[in-house]
Symmetry: C2
Subunit: 345 residues, 2 copies
């Protein structure tokens, strides 16, 4: 309670209710056949999105998602102060190349699959502090582009290990603003880089769960809340195994995660889609937040959501050099804007 | 003047004078023989820094630089709210792996060689807004690690083209705080991604100069200032050619850059060091800011400095796919803390 950033060292409390003015999600064909098919704003028929390479497709998906969010609630691009985001590709080319077309100041981030939360947390701080009126917060990932950068090109037809996850082809964009309508970001907990020594680059869930448990415990400690205070606690992409590990780790810390806990990666694909542990990628939590979760908040199903995206901060070089996998998790709390929530769906 | 973030859309004005509580720089052997050899806090004898690979050396340099900044003015690590930074390696492994050891919430950025400014701008906003008491802002680059990632391994002995620059092995760390001592960050201008269609990945100066001119012109417009209002206007690493292009571009925009304009990349190596256009890399502007520039401010030589780091946002994949090179430049204004500037040198 001594720290000046709200409550604890890791948690910022926003006093001016930075609002979610608009949001939009776009996913690939496979994701569009999964659990949340009714909730995505746009489902592609072609994962190349009409482009000549998967990398350019990823950029195209991000651009269309941002345009979708602007259009959906008639947000004028000239009112946007900052575009904040990143992606999984080396040098975050999807985000920075996209930013050319929006001609708005760009804040590039890298937080692997935690980027959606990182961008909303920074955007919320800029809006809350009066440094921005509106910010675009967006991220993207593409299965085929990620596979050939992090693992092997799909053309090789390599077998996937049972602990692996499937990088989501998808994107999500949240537009934050200083208006007084809509759901708002009430808190953000920035995570510490956590490394429990996992070296298996195929087992991201196991690597990321400790970082998730650190941030979650820190959030509860900082804010004096407990799991039951949230209608929904949702992690980014720990997958099935990773979210089971998180439940165990939290129990060791004295917090029992109940039925209000779930994981975007575990949920996004249906059982018969054979993705082993589920979805992953920066676009996984981004597309689920900006479809299912926010639409359920619109509908009044959830009133207070703790959304925590998780990221594995490895590179192919670090893995080849025998390094372990440091991970991170950032959390935000979104509360339902009761005034008008029904209008913005 | 209509925007709520201070002055214009791109520029934030800080009202609470986020202070530079400490700073530190560390460079490699070659850089330590250059122009600023008297100003760096630490010069390595061995660019491997006692490590087994250049990548691990880069991380080690960053960690030592951060520890150096903490030690220099007895800043307690437990008082640090956020570590903010990034580097040039894929997935910013130097920064995120380093962050493990500081056990403080980590905000990972990617802005290529503009990262030092990006981290200070975000850190200053978090401190100014009351979201943090103290932040570490740091970045690093390593010549050999960058060469083998972006171009070719040194072992191949490839010839360097005359328009090329030499990635600086070096790191800089600035610790911002909400105290009332020291120089302070008064403004930040976040840049827009700018692409004039340059495709030569060896000619970064030409690619980055347009982004620098965009941000500089935006800054002057937003703040109503002109080049003469600053004792020093210093770009990150445009190099010789790039800074000449910037002078030309600014003249076309109606701003004449005088003798108070210089470039870290152009200055860091001496003429006989054969680096063609000069230095580059995230560590170039970071090490020059956190040595020569801030020490000259301590000494009262400069009272108001506009520091603008520039970044080329390409990747090897984007270049191989025939893409042009989008670039970005972020600027901050540092003003001398007159109260006590002599004490903190």
């Amino acid at each position: 309670m001594k720290k000046n950033n709200g409550l604890g060292q890791s948690t910022i409390v926003f006093k001016n209710k930075p609002r979610i003015e608009s949001y939009y999600s776009m996913v690939g064909k496979k994701e569009g056949q999964g659990t949340f098919k009714k909730y995505f704003d746009c489902i592609l028929n072609d994962d190349l999105c009409g482009q000549k390479s998967f990398e350019v497709a990823e950029r195209e998906i991000l651009e269309r998602t941002i345009l979708g969010a602007l259009d959906k609630n008639n947000v004028d691009l000239s009112d946007i102060d900052f575009m904040i985001g990143g992606d999984l590709l080396n040098q975050i080319i999807s985000s920075s190349f996209s930013a050319r077309h929006f001609e708005t100041p760009f804040i590039g981030l890298y937080g692997a699959c935690s980027t959606m939360c990182e961008s909303i947390a920074i955007g919320a701080a800029l809006v809350d502090g009066g440094y921005a009126k509106k910010t675009i917060c967006a991220t993207v990932s593409h299965f085929a582009a990620a596979e050939r950068q992090y693992r092997t090109p799909l053309e090789l037809g390599n077998q996937r290990p049972p602990v692996s996850q499937w990088t989501v082809t998808g994107s999500g964009c949240t537009i934050l603003s200083n208006t007084n309508r809509g759901h708002y970001v009430s808190m953000a907990t920035f995570g510490k880089v956590t490394d429990y020594g996992v070296t298996d680059a195929n087992n991201m869930g196991a690597a990321m769960a400790p970082a998730a448990s650190e941030t979650l415990a820190e959030h509860f400690k900082d804010t004096g809340t407990c799991p039951d205070d949230y209608d929904l606690i949702v992690t980014g992409d720990l997958g099935k195994l990773g979210s089971e590990i998180l439940r165990d780790l939290m129990e060791h810390r004295g917090y029992k995660l109940g039925t209000n806990y779930c994981d975007c990666g575990q949920m996004i694909f249906s059982r018969n889609q054979r993705t082993f542990q589920g979805g992953s990628g920066a676009g996984c939590s981004a597309s689920v937040l900006n479809s299912y979760i926010l639409k359920q908040m619109d509908a009044g199903v959830y009133k207070k959501v703790l959304f925590m995206a998780t990221g594995a901060l490895l590179s192919t070089v670090s893995t080849q050099q025998g390094e372990t996998i440091p991970c991170i998790a950032h959390a935000i709390v979104i509360e339902r804007g009761e005034e008008n929530a029904d209008d913005i769906s």
